[in-house]
Structure formats: C-alpha cells, structure tokens
Symmetry: C2
Subunit: 141 residues, 2 copies
DNA sequence: CTAGCTGCAAAGCGTTTGCACGATG
DNA sequence: CATCGTGCAAACGCTTTGCAGCTAG
C-alpha cells in the first residue's frame, strides 16, 4: 500500500474520480521531499505513461489546490511550485545567486502571522513562504 | 523641477542615456503612491506619447532594477508589480478574496530577517514582501 | 560619430480553454 | 449510462528577443 492511498480515498469521497493519471500525479508529488514544478511532474509521470498532457496536470493540481491538499507557491519568474500540505509547516529560503533552497522552520514566521491578525484583522496565509536572498556561501562573494 | 530629476542624474552618471521615454516611465512610477504594473505604466505614458512600446518599458525597468532604484514583486498569478525603492520599507497584505491591498510596516517582518541571518547565515531579501490572506471584512464571510 | 535606445514584429514561456473521445462509478 | 476526466490543439497573457533605424552624448 503506497502512501497516496489515503489521499485517493479523500478524492473519491469528495466526488472526484480516481484515474490512473491522477494516481500518477499524486505519486509524483508525494515522492519528493519538497516542492515540484509541473515540468517535473510531467517528466516523472511520462516515464511510465508518456501520453500525459500538461493540461491534465494543471487540472488535477487545480482540484488538489481547491481541496487544500497541495499548496501552490509562486517563487517568482517562471513556474509555480507545488507542495504537499502536511502537518509540519515550513518555508523556503531561495538563494538568488546559486538557486539553492533551504528549509526554514515555521517558528521563524509564525509569530508574524498572529501580530498581523491582532493589529490589522488580516488572516495572513503564511503556510508556505518563499523568501529570497543570498545563502551563506554566496554572501561571501 | 520634478521629483524624478535626481534619478535622472543617477541614470546619467551610471552611463545610461536619458531619453524622453525613460523620463516618462520614471514619472509614471514615481507619481503613484504604491506599486504599478507594466500595463499601468503603458497607459499613463501613452496619454502623452502613444507610440511607447511595452518592450521599452520592460527594458527600462530592467535597468532600474539592476540599479536597485525600483523593486519588482511577483504578487502571484499574472503581472509583476514595480515600486520605487525609498527609505520607508513596507510590505503588502493582499486579500485573496477582494483583492484589496493594505500596507504593512516593516517592523512586523524585520526581526525575522535577523533571526534567519543568525541561524542560517542567509541574507534574506525582505525589502518588499507580498503576504496573501483574507482581510478583516472578507474573513467574516 | 557611435554606442545605446527605440519601435516593431515575432517568438517564448507557463498556463488556460474548447472540444470530441474515452473511462469511471 | 451519465458524468467527469482526458489528450490534443489552439489560444492566452506577460515577457523577451532580433533587428533596422534613430538619437543622445
């Protein structure tokens, strides 16, 4: 039993159909440690099923987004990245120089959210943040 | 003497040419209280000079970005927004429901930057942040 | 004069949409 | 068997690029 089985059930229960394509897309998203692009999903799925179309991936991601099973983040310039929403919130530090991605625990950001709520009544969506900058090794240059 | 004169001098000093188009683009950016899109710049400049091309605007913005005179922010889905970089840092709260934009003072975010630097050696670029969520009035629905 | 800027046109990119066929429940 | 999902193709919107002519310094 693979780990995306539970998700399959959730999809089914919500009135969506379970197709091979969707299972493969699901698998591609869950079998990465962090975020994926549509291109990466396509590459992976095409290894076993070459006829998958980008529109199918986008439409499936649309469903998963609406069900809050995946998050979409625009990392600026170009493709959006998608990530499985799980219990342990985290964020990403993206180096503008080398493109490296570091995980950042939620505690760095969490307090900001409650401060904003208190002062502005604004319910900030801080589930997944992309923070740009220069990583430790690139900052030396 | 208009307020973009100083900028004109900076451009000149850095070896760039001062063209009427650039002056008009400069004016369009500075004469807004907050951020502008390329489309808005085009609209404004075309009122006095209808032949301006989008590529000219993009190229000028590229120069201004490289000189750190304007910041580019991807507010997700669609056009990037550009903003004059000035002394008073701030961020934007963008309501996903009504699209309203609220200014957020820098102090909410500033401490996060130093924390990240301390723990990860990552120099986060937090000059201008776009924070999505639900504004006070939309959160009630 | 001559490097750099412009407008035009076209291409590029990620994403969305219309449509008829096929599969799911 | 009715609906929903798919692949294909084409369109979309924002942005970038090649190019020949023009212009600022």
């Amino acid at each position: 039993m693979s780990c995306e089985n539970a998700t399959a059930q959730v999809l089914k229960d919500s009135g969506h159909r379970l197709t091979p394509q969707r299972l493969m897309i699901l698998s591609a998203i869950r079998h990465t440690t962090s975020h994926v692009t549509v291109a990466q999903i396509l590459d992976e799925v095409r290894e076993s099923y070459p006829y998958i179309d980008a529109s199918t991936v986008y439409r499936t991601l649309g469903v998963l987004k609406k069900m809050r099973l995946v998050s979409e983040t625009d990392m600026g310039s170009g493709e959006a990245v998608y990530e499985w929403i799980n219990q342990s919130k985290h964020h990403h530090l993206i180096c503008k120089s080398c493109g490296g991605v570091t995980l950042l625990e939620d505690r760095y950001v969490a307090s900001v959210g409650s401060d904003i709520m208190e002062d502005h009544g604004f319910k900030a969506d801080l589930d997944h943040f992309a923070i740009f900058g220069l990583c430790a090794s690139c900052v030396e240059d």
